[in-house]
């Protein structure tokens, strides 16, 4: 039964991160990881105020079109080229509490699979009406919604013929710096997902499945945009002994 006390983050330390939920650092088929992966075991210690605090971003920081990649780059009366989509979902912590005020920053290729970046070398054309970045802050229930075009798959220099599945990059700030996360969202039904060396850095099939946004037909805007749902789970704080006692009363 959701009530207000459930939504108040507890004051204990962050639960330890489970490596099985994440990619391995070294995965030779993803060639760049070979020389960029640490080899020593990381140092573990209980989270402190340095990890339990984090920058706070207010809704006032956002411009009216920040979450609308269809329109936030081109001239006022024009929109990006490609399949129009809504991406929406909920950010929660690992105990199911909504994360309100989470800043999500996204970036992606255009509908042809081309990024607007000096290092981009793919022959697909730029879209003059598409910049490729957007951001949104979750509401009190942890919900967010973005509008964009469905990005195209693209080839990349790794193996001789590697293609990235269509994806949107997400950078996420929760309440504490310990929750900091960057990930990628994929699209249901994309045959390139299981072939991708970057996806395959994750060993756990369920962890991969959670990165794949299903089509959300009920959320579709008729005659306008298809909708995909992408929920995000961040680390959570445990209750202190004192808080446990309070709840037990």
């Amino acid at each position: 039964m959701p009530d207000k006390t459930n939504n108040t983050p507890p004051k204990g330390g962050y639960a330890a991160r489970l490596p099985a939920n994440h990619p391995v650092a070294l995965y030779p088929p993803y060639r760049t990881s070979v020389k960029r992966s640490p080899q020593a075991a990381p140092l573990s210690f209980p989270s402190t105020i340095s990890e339990e605090t984090g920058p706070v971003f207010g809704h006032s920081m956002l411009g009216p079109l920040d979450g609308d990649l269809l329109r936030n780059f081109g001239p006022q009366d024009q929109t990006a080229i490609g399949p129009r989509i809504i991406v929406h979902g909920r950010v929660q912590d690992q105990f199911g509490r909504p994360v309100a005020g989470a800043l999500l920053e996204v970036w992606q290729a255009n509908a042809g699979g081309r990024y607007r970046h000096v290092k981009e070398g793919y022959i697909a054309p730029l879209d003059p009406n598409f910049g490729g970045c957007g951001r949104v802050i979750t509401d009190a229930d942890g919900r967010y919604e973005l509008r964009t075009v469905k990005p195209g798959p693209y080839p990349w220099p790794n193996g001789p013929n590697d293609w990235r599945p269509a994806h949107i990059h997400f950078s996420v700030f929760g309440a504490g710096f310990a929750q900091r996360l960057i990930t990628q969202m994929y699209f249901e039904g994309d045959p390139l997902i299981p072939l991708c060396p970057i996806v395959r850095t994750i060993n756990d099939a369920a962890a991969v499945a959670r990165l794949i946004a299903p089509l959300d037909k009920p959320h579709t805007l008729p005659m306008d945009a298809l909708a995909y749902r992408f929920d995000i789970t961040l680390r959570g704080r445990r209750q202190t002994l004192f808080e446990n006692r309070m709840e037990g009363l």
């Binding site: 994440h22 020389k35 960029r36 020593a40 140092l43 402190t48 984090g54 996360l181 990628q184 994750i202």
Partner: protein, 196 residues
Amino acid sequence: MNDFPETASQTAGPYVHIGCTPNFAGINGVYPDDLGAKMITGAANGTRITLLGQVFDGTGTPLRDAMVEAWQADANGLYAGQPEADLHFTGFGRCACDPVDGTFRFETVRPAAVPWPQGGMQAPHITIWIVARGINLGLHTRAYFEDAPENDSDPVLGRIEHRNRVRTLLAQREEESTYRFNIHLQGAGETMFFDV
């Protein structure tokens, strides 16, 4: 309460700048400023310092496509958002490494010590987070100051078993107020990264 597994990380990739520092990436006019470009926003208290460095891969080559973030307390040991924290200091910095030599740089204030949960204090430090192509999970570490007397009693530095690795967390004073914190992803001088 049921446990929900944390969403898996994926590499930030080579185009992280489009999303995180679009003005740096030449995508102007979408956001007025890049997030974290300025840590000092007014008459902040404390000693002004520059923290800079490079991120090296296992071959000793600096990464030119990494993004580094910093999170730190103010000159009184308070984090932004805490009561009485310095209103002219955000505590948060974000820097795209230089596309030519890979240098990252934060113009900031020297933080003060902050409490350790079990009592006592942690030596002044800046939390550092590194993402880039080829890094599958963002790397978390800390820059301490080599000339800080508090280091001797810091509980995190104190629990490092391989004592020769402590120095990988010490920013070296280069000039009056400039500290260099080089990060080594791999190799003999591999930086101590945290799972915290």
